[in-house]
Amino acid sequence: MIQLIINGQPERLEQALTVHALLEVRQLAGKRLAVERNGEIVPKGRHAETLLADGDRLEIVVAVGGG
């Protein structure tokens, strides 16, 4: 079990997942989004190889309407 903060919310995962696997579980895979882990961008090309660790802070963002 690992604990993460995703978009400011505490979340538990039964096991350590990659960024890609997390996006799949949350039905976000393939969507236009960007991921930051502990203040650093995780490029799309590295989602499949980036394993999340206990205590990670993730930001997962999209484009929304704005001026």
Binding site: I6, N7, G8, Q27, L33, V61, V62, A63, G67
Partner: protein
């Protein structure tokens, strides 16, 4: 006449840039943007739902980046660090896209720019390879600092964001325009079509607006009006207005050949 707006080496036919916020739904967003003729559209960057709402429509499906130049903003950021982080996420989101709108706000009541933080963020972003269009105060000294730092465009407010109060200090805008070697766009404050025309007649290179269109009673019709106003204002600027004559009229019809003379 070729009169394109060139920003960071890329030419645009439209001098009207529009935001995508405050619309009723994505259909209205797209219809208004089509009516505006805008090629550059701003978007905000926000946390996504993380699985609570699968299938939620995505703005970039309505405004495909191969059709529009997407201009991610840092609306809501109050520090240089948050603005820089947001735009690095935007660059990742948009596959390396470098053109961004920087805004670092000073206070939630006025949404006036925090210029020290804006200058700090601009410096970092320019060094990091971004093409920075920057929302700023209508202060010619700081506008020049941003330009000298390498910003792609300076975008002073005409009045407060979302206020619709129009062009409150045309003299300051003129000072900024007259000295600038990068495009100057009015960003914020336009309320109706004549405001956009006035900005362009002053010599602005473009106008960026959101609320004036989105909060009109008929946003699609207002978008069309804004398109015409920006074009009309630009043509009037290029044509060169007649000199103002104070305290004396000048008849338009011949003064000779009147009957009974």
């Amino acid at each position: 006449m070729n009169d394109s707006l060139v920003i960071a080496g890329k030419s645009y036919g439209s001098r009207l840039l529009v935001g995508t916020g405050k619309y009723k739904d994505f259909d209205e967003t797209r219809a208004a943007i089509d009516a505006s003729g805008a090629e550059i559209v701003t978007v905000a960057i926000r946390r996504t739902n993380i699985g609570q709402n699968p299938g939620e429509p995505n703005l970039l499906d309505v405004l495909p980046p191969d059709r529009f130049t997407i201009l991610p903003n840092t609306a809501g950021c109050y520090t240089a660090d948050d603005a820089v982080r947001t735009l690095r996420l935007a660059r990742e989101l948009l596959d390396g896209h470098a053109l961004v709108k920087l805004e670092v706000l000073g206070d939630p009541k006025t949404l006036f720019p925090n210029m020290p933080e804006t200058l700090k963020a601009a410096e970092t972003l320019v060094k990091d390879g971004f093409d920075v269009m920057v929302y700023c105060a209508d202060d010619p000294i700081q506008a020049k600092m941003l330009e000298d730092m390498g910003c792609a465009a300076v975008m002073p407010l005409a009045s407060l964001i979302g206020s619709g109060m129009g062009i409150l200090n045309p003299w300051n805008l003129r000072l900024i325009i007259d000295q600038a070697t990068v495009p100057v766009l009015v960003d914020a404050g336009v309320g109706t079509a004549s405001d956009a025309a006035i900005a362009m007649e002053l010599g602005c290179d473009g106008v960026l607006m959101n609320t004036a269109i989105a909060h009109a009673k008929n946003p699609v019709l207002m978008a069309s009006a804004m398109k015409k106003a920006v074009e009309a204002g630009r043509e009037a600027f290029l044509a060169g207005r007649m000199p103002r004559k104070f305290y004396s009229a000048d008849p338009s019809s011949p003064t000779s050949g009147l009957i009974g003379s």
